[in-house]
Symmetry: C2
Subunit: 415 residues, 2 copies
Amino acid sequence: LKKPNALVIQSGGPTAVINRTLTGLLSGFRSQKSIGHIYGASHGIHGLLNEELIDLGSLSIEMIHAIGHTPGAALGSARLKPRPEDLDRVFEVLAAHSINYLFYIGGNDSAEAAQLIRQAANDKKHDLVIFHLPKTIDNDLVITDHCPGYGSAAKVCASILLGDDLDNKSFYNGIKINVCMGRHAGWLAASTALAKHCLKNEDSEECGPHLIYLPECKFTEEQFLHDVQTTYDRIGRATIVVAEGIAERLKFVGEKDEFGNSQLSGSAKLGEYLEKLVQKNIKVKTELGKLRTRADTWGYMQRSFPLVVSETDFSEAYTIGQAGLRYALQGETDKSLVLIREQTAEYKCHVQLVDLSHLAQKTKTMPNEMINTRGNGVTNLFIEYARPLVGELPYLTDLGRLPLKKKKLSAYVRK
Amino acid sequence: LKKPNALVIQSGGPTAVINRTLTGLLSGFRSQKSIGHIYGASHGIHGLLNEELIDLGSLSIEMIHAIGHTPGAALGSARLKPRPEDLDRVFEVLAAHSINYLFYIGGNDSAEAAQLIRQAANDKKHDLVIFHLPKTIDNDLVITDHCPGYGSAAKVCASILLGDDLDNKSFYNGIKINVCMGRHAGWLAASTALAKHCLKNEDSEECGPHLIYLPECKFTEEQFLHDVQTTYDRIGRATIVVAEGIAERLKFVGEKDEFGNSQLSGSAKLGEYLEKLVQKNIKVKTELGKLRTRADTWGYMQRSFPLVVSETDFSEAYTIGQAGLRYALQGETDKSLVLIREQTAEYKCHVQLVDLSHLAQKTKTMPNEMINTRGNGVTNLFIEYARPLVGELPYLTDLGRLPLKKKKLSAYVRK
């Protein structure tokens, strides 16, 4: 009797550890006997529709190990929603290659696609074991404590902000705006708050980020300008983080994909808009020069930076891949995997099964208890939540306050 | 007899290791007997004009060590050119605090400022030992083999590009434009070429960056589009790096500082302009979806990322600080320091003195032999030059080509 084969799909935006989930899955493949071959679809649904498949069974252990350290989707990814006619083709290809196991590594759009394939399999009476293996830097899947991919992206964001705030602080009168990823949920923007705890010799009110704007909260230009002015009046500068999703409040809408998501990343409009707003409205108090405003939009490095990976994330992404194969071989199907945080002093999570139907088309935003009352920052509850996911951050210092006593010179006003 | 005091100034754009030069200087301070106190100017010339000085003599060894690991200018920086009336004030403050040693950590604008202070000291017959200690991520100081600060920024840029190209490659039809720092010189943009050598299982023609545009070369839209189309036709995608200085060719000019430099960083206009050009003009060959164009402008993280520092750079920045103090105590003055690469198999540099007047208002651009004949990439000579400065980069892999034999299915065209 010929054994059925398995297919792995990577879908949606890659993460720094999406390939670790793939290699976790592959790691268990050699020691099982139920599945014949294991294939990968080249560029997600594209590869399935066009019969562009890759044989993953021939990879050496060294190669599997190395792939796990590599960001980007090793199989290639896509952002396509399967249409009814696509689903007919999907099963033509699955049948032609005797594929009865499907592993879909992705976020909530991928869970939705997996659901559509599940329903079509039922209609077509195609025997199919299907698993959704979670990954998303957005951390917006429901039920799970957090998502593989988030910890590493959060570590990149917190590290960028830490350096950026020190850079901004180097100059007088600096208002720096940073736009980070996060369409509907502010988890990534919030993670920059960890940078506040990386400096010795500084109270955390002095350290950036001073203001964080999350898609979960109301955003008005008046409130934003009031917050910036207050921060500037207090410490003479401000380092600000804005989730890209705020652009939708301000009616910036770009290209849309087939799931109806507009393209926000790769556009610097939001940062530039807020920078102009600051330039026009903030009242400068010092005579030492004009306001120095800058805006950076962090872009794709947030999810692809190869040198800054959270160890927890790296390890959990692998565990998810291993568990996916194990559960599939145990006869489970139509499931996704979630991470459940244990109530222990030291951070620990275990994997649990959840019905696929519980994830599709749902988004987990930040709960109110993790957002401060003014809606421009996070609470300690968030810091405690995020710290173990991100892991070690650099512990730096600054000079603190060592002012030399002034001699009795007249004041100097530079013209 | 009261001993003269010393003052340290940090000026211009900070780097990841500018504070290492400060701590190298401080490290030798305890064991010398010629200088009484060592002060820092708060925010460069600002602090000198306003008598905002910091006493650096009281820092503990642990603190000095920690400061050396911290990006940003620990003393604060400025971008002001001293005017004649400023110079009068500078010497009022220097005299009031008995300062006869001045160390100016900065790039070529700082060398120019140091020169102006030197001339004023001569006019005023103020006994002054003055040293310029080089730092700039732009790597554009003359005479020296390279500049402290460059290796770490280059490591950040090469790492971002490495991950970014893998991210871009994850999707079909991806044209990704990355704008990196570099106004007059392409050293940083060029450094991204090191990413080409970080992937196993790939020939370097397949790896990004596929095209690099340097301020040293002519830039025309026709040539750019021709290059992108050729790359796209060959491999179905393109990862492109553009130095921000190209904006000046296209008449994007922002705010200017007092040295006449226009503000290019923190503006995403160049990337967006080139992205639109690509969207309008590139002919797409595949039916698998429309062109996916994205543009990122990397911004300030290039010079401030705390976790990605070149070890060579980290070490040399310290050496420069140590040498500056040592030469000043030996009676040298009006000097800057340069790094001379030795003709050994293993990379090695030593420090040499050079007259201050040789650096001001001069810029070292990339020599022709380091740029390819088409003016859209670098030669091996550059790779050999840059590799030891940047140090270790991640060595990753991709799946290579493992296509599964197709069954005899009809072709599928998605509408």
